[in-house]
C-alpha cells in the first residue's frame, strides 16, 4: 500500500502540514497527544477536509483541492477501528459485524463472516446484544466489523489505549492475526512505543502538526532511548520451564532466565528496560542479581548522552544502555565479550 499526502489543515491555532509518501503493509503513526495524529487520520478517512492539497492511496487521488475532488467517506474504503469500540447499540453482534459487509460492493467482498469470526474467536457472541459484552470482546467485534467491510486500508486510531494492560496484550495477537490473515494494509496510531514495535514496520513520527521523520519502529525506539526515563524496552518472548526457589525459570534462546512474580503460562511476552541491565567486563564472582548472561557486543549506537549497546546472548538480542564514561571503562566495542546482570524483578510480564 502506498499512501501519499501533501496537504495542510488549519484548526483554530493548530496547523497541520503534511508532505510525505509512505509504502508498506504495517505503517505506524507515532507522536504525543495533540501532535496532529488524529487530524492526519481524519484527512485520510475523509472526516476532515484539507484546506488544500492532495491525498492519495495507491496512486488514486481521494482528495485533490485543485481538481475539486473530495471522495466521500463511504466511498473511500478506508476502514477504521477507534479508541473505543463504538458498536451500534441497537444491533446485535452479528448485525454489527455485517453492517459494512452488506454495504461493500460485491466485487470487493472477499472476506467472509465465518472466517473473521473464526480468527477473532467470537463465534459464541454472534446473537448477543452488544451491551452484554466485556471490553475485550467489544473491541474484537469492532475490529471484525471494520475488517468485514473489506477496506483497502485499515486505520487503527489508538485501538488499545482504552484497555488495561492485560487486556491490551490479549487483543494485540488478534489485531495482528486478522490483518495478516486477510492481508489488509494498516495504519496504526499510538503514542506507545511498545505497541509501535509490536504492530508496525515503518513509522511516521508526528510532532507539532508536522511529520518529524520516517523510520523503522526499531530505529525510532533506539533514537528515543536517550530521552526516555524508561530507556529502550527489550521485548522478550520467554518459554516457561519450571519453578525454582520461588522464582520462575524461562527458556530464552539457549539461556535460562529467572523472573519473579510471573504466571505459569507456557509462553509470555516480557519487557525489560535497557536501564535495568548492568554490564561487567569480567565475570563477577558473586552478585545479588539472579541472571548473569555472557554476551557479545554486536553494535553500539548513540542516543542523547547515552550509548546503546546491542548484544547477542545465546542466539537472542538484548540492548543495554550505559553512559559514555562507563563505556570507556568497560572498553566497549563491537565483538568484545561482556557479562550482563539482570535482577529477576526487572522483568515485567506484558501478556
Amino acid at each position: 500500500m502506498e499512501m501519499s499526502i501533501n496537504a495542510s489543515k488549519q484548526f483554530g491555532s493548530f496547523r497541520l502540514e503534511a508532505d510525505f509518501t509512505v509504502t508498506g503493509q504495517r505503517i505506524g503513526l507515532f507522536g504525543p497527544s495533540g501532535s496532529g495524529k488524529s487530524t492526519l487520520v481524519g484527512l485520510v478517512v475523509g472526516l476532515h477536509q484539507p484546506d488544500h492539497g492532495i491525498v492519495s492511496l495507491d496512486g488514486e487521488a481521494i482528495f485533490d483541492s485543485r481538481k475539486g475532488l473530495n471522495l466521500p467517506v463511504e466511498q473511500r474504503r478506508v476502514g477504521m477501528v477507534f479508541q473505543r469500540p463504538h458498536l451500534f447499540p441497537h444491533l446485535n453482534v452479528k448485525h454489527n459485524l455485517l453492517y459494512g459487509h452488506r454495504r461493500c460492493a460485491p466485487e470487493n467482498r472477499k472476506i467472509t463472516l465465518d472466517s473473521v469470526v473464526g480468527v477473532l474467536q467470537i463465534e459464541h457472541l454472534l446473537n448477543r446484544g452488544v451491551s452484554n459484552l466485556s471490553g475485550g470482546e467489544r473491541q474484537r467485534v469492532s475490529i471484525g466489523r471494520a475488517v468485514l467491510s473489506n477496506p483497502r486500508l485499515l486505520i487503527m486510531d489508538e485501538p488499545l489505549s482504552g484497555l488495561d494492560d492485560s487486556l491490551k496484550f490479549q487483543i494485540i495477537p488478534f489485531l495482528k492475526n486478522v490483518c495478516e490473515t486477510f492481508q489488509i494494509p494498516y495504519l496504526f496510531i499510538s503514542h506507545s512505543m511498545i505497541e509501535m514495535r509490536i504492530m508496525t514496520d515503518q513509522v511516521l513520527s508526528v510532532a507539532d502538526g508536522r511529520i518529524a521523520g520516517q523510520m523503522t519502529a526499531e530505529e525510532l525506539a533506539r533514537s528515543r532511548m536517550g530521552e526516555s526515563h524508561a530507556g529502550y524496552i527489550n521485548l522478550l518472548k520467554l518459554k516457561y520451564s519450571h519453578r525454582l526457589d520461588g522464582l520462575h525459570v524461562y527458556h530464552w534462546g539457549n539461556a535460562h532466565l529467572f523472573a519473579s512474580g510471573s504466571s505459569d503460562l507456557p509462553e509470555s511476552l516480557f519487557e525489560l528496560s535497557s536501564t535495568d541491565i548492568i554490564l561487567f567486563k569480567r565475570h563477577p564472582e558473586a552478585i545479588s542479581a539472579r541472571n548473569l548472561l555472557q554476551c557479545r557486543v554486536t553494535d553500539v549506537f548513540e542516543s542523547g548522552n547515552r550509548l546503546g549497546i546491542e548484544m547477542e546472548c545465546g542466539g537472542e538480542r538484548l540492548i543495554a544502555e550505559v553512559v559514555r564514561q562507563a563505556a570507556e571503562d568497560l572498553g566497549i566495542e563491537r565483538g568484545i565479550k561482556v557479562y550482563a546482570a539482570i535482577k529477576a524483578t526487572a522483568f515485567r510480564r506484558l501478556g
Binding site: 466521500p72 467517506v73 463511504e74 477504521m80 453492517y99 459494512g100 454495504r103
Partner: protein, 228 residues
Amino acid sequence: MPGFTPTDYSAILLSIKVATTATLISLPFGFTVAYLMTFRKFRGRVVLDVFVNLPLTLPPVVVGYLLLLLLGQQGWISKVLLQPLGIKLIFTWKAAVIATAVVGFPLMVRSIRTGMETIDIRLIQASRTLGAGWFDNVITIILPLSIRGIIAGSVLMFARGLGEFGATIIVAGNIPGVTQTIPLAIYEYVSSPRGDVMAMALCCVSITISIAVLIFHEWLGRQMIRTD
C-alpha cells in the same frame, strides 16, 4: 354520569382524530428539522431555530390569527395554492389539524433533538467509514437511535394537540359536530347555563385520555429498554 349527546361523542372522536393526524403529519418534518438542527451546520440555522420555536412562545390565538391571514380567503397561500386546487381549509377539521400541528411542532422538534443529541458522533462516523451514505446513515443509525426522542415528541405533541384551543377556535371555529373538539365543547358548556356537569364530564374524558397516553408512553419506553 350524564349521557353524552352525539355532538359530545363527535367532539371526543374529533379531538383524537385531529391530534393523531397532526402528530403523524408533523413527524417527518419534525425529524427533518431536528436532524438539520443537530447534525448540519448551515446559514440561517438560528433563524430556523427561532422560527420553529416561535409558536411555543406566542399566544396560540396569535398563531391562529396568523394562520387565518395566510390560509383565509385573502391569504397568499390560499390564493396561490389552495384556491386553484379547490381546497377549502378554514372552518373545517383540517384547519384544526394545521393549527394543532403548528402549535405542537416545537415540542416535537425539541424532544427529537434531545434524543439526537445523545447519539455519539463516533457511531455516525463509524457507519460512514463502513460504507453508509448520509441517507443510509440517517435511516439505519440516527433514526433507530433517536427513536425514544421521536416517541416522546409524538406523545407530547399528541397530548398538546388534545388541549389545543386558541389557534383552533380562530381557524376552525367552534362548529358542533364539524370542528368542535373537547376543549371547545367544554368552553361552550361552561359559558352556557347549567352546563357545569357536562363540562366536568368532558374534563374527565380529557383526563382519562391523557393518562392513557402517558401510560402508553411509559409502557413503550419499558419495551424498548427490554430490547436493548
